[in-house]
Amino acid sequence: MNLIQILFWLLSGLAIVSALMVLISKNPVHSVLWLIVVFFAISGHYILLNAQFLAIVNLIVYAGAIMVLFLFVIMLMNLGKESDPQKNVWIKLAGAISGGSLLIVLVSLVKQASEINDKEALLGNGNIGLIGTLGKVLFTDFVVPFEISSVLFLSAMVGAVVIGKK
């Protein structure tokens, strides 16, 4: 068992445990905080797969922006105190069945996909997910959309100022 494998099992365990904690916690704010831990664990997996860019973007977008949004919604709806979970047993049953069906579909998909059977993921090699590779593509092949998207961001910023100013 080399270091990468140890890390893999550690991160997987962390991801599963914290994902369970998201569901188990009674307090919605704690759920959100555990969800952030899940995202960090998944980002760790991305780094093991040599996909730095995905790892960083996952942290910035999910753990950063979207989680802050979640917290705001929870605060605004005043769900901070422990709220009773839904009591209706039928809704719970329906949720369990639909979630379980999705699990079956995913598992059978992985089992059937002949392309990925008996293959290991590229751990620590391969350069497709590196930021340098992405930057090269972005500044050569996709430089026109890259530059034009600056107009989009500029107009969005102008809009934020127009809407936000008194």
């Binding site: 092949d141 026109v144 959309p145 034009i148 107009v151 102008v158 809407i163």
Partner: protein, 461 residues
Amino acid sequence: MNTIIVSALLGVVMMFSGIFTANKTAIRNVAIVALLVLLGVNIAATYGCCNLNIDVKNMLEFSKFGMFFNSIAIFSTLMYLVLSGSDIVKVGDNAAEYFAIIFFVLCGVSVLSAYNSLLMLFLGVEIMTIPLYILTGSDKKNLKSNEASLKYFLMGSFSTGIMLMGIALMYGVNGNFGIAFDVPAAGSPLQNYGILLPLGLLFIFVSMAFKVSAAPFHFWTPDVYDGAPSVFTSFMATIVKAAGFIAFIKLFETHYFQLQASWKMILPLVIIATLFIGNITAVFQQSVKRMLAYSSIAQAGFMLFALYSNNSFSKEGILLYSAAYSLATIGVFAILIKMKDYTFEGYNGLAKTQPVLAAANTIFLLSLAGIPLTAGFFAKYYMLTSVLQSHNGFIMVIIAVLFAAVSVYYYFRVIQSMYFKQGDAETSAISSGFKYGLIFLAALIILLGIMPNVLLQYLYF
């Protein structure tokens, strides 16, 4: 390329003009001059003059058709600023930013008229719509404006998500963002995924239909057009909508024949539903502004015929239609903004108090209804003829003519109020420059109605 760059730069210039002067009339005049510059740049670029040599990696393709549409859009914006510019600065304190945003929208329009890759389509649509969310909500103290802005933002983001899903599906089969693709050949590993192409295109179709407010994706239109400040409704309903159609056509002329079987039923159904909902609902409106919102849905139904027939005649037709529709709607809105009361009763007796406004409004409404000797007649004529040419679609044409007859009812209600009803329509102060602008616009519409070739000949030389 020049148009895209210059319009973005002029947007920045407009943004900074707010720092140097607080005089809003001066800012408006700067915007008009900037638009003239942009129009000049675009016309020069159309004839290959002074083009910047930028390698666009085949993501943009500058055709005569697209450049000519840019000219029409910029000219319409110019007329819009001349007529309604003084009302834009009244909306709030951020006059310079509003003009900057209008230039950014024009940048999006010029991307959409030239895109050759789904990535640019997405960027163009976003550059065009995100500023609109802001313009819709620019009247911050008005609750209706806020509501419209939020609604538009949420539904618009949702439709953008659908478009991204479609683009992702098409990328999955294609391996690149190009809009031209081949259906996977038999034996290739992708042949089982060929279904993803029509599916992806369907998603993009839904999203674009939302942007041009075709039924059944039109639900946002009346609320947003009604809630937004009237000046900005005028802009949204004309230039932006026409640009949506240009993007739509580009996508479909590439794919139409490959996927014709898949589209044969969807498009006619959408067209008929759009014509039906737009026209029938417009009949029951009490407010002229809301009536115009529904009429813009109905006009979108007519413009969709260009997608359906998809031949050279329809391409000429959509240019004429977007010019005729944009100019007439800008005129109608320019007068609407000056009215104190937006209901039909508010127009009672306008012919006595403001004869020039009433006469010009009559010409604009006649053009929207498609009465001969106005530009709207030839616009509709081109659309319907193109359907007959490529599909022999007699039933479609008959349905369209019937709905055009329905539209005459609600357009003429305004004329009836102005000329045949007693009352004194109140308007805000009308400058003589505004009247001359209206007269010029009305003359232009009649000129296009008598000789549509005045416009269309530029497509060929």
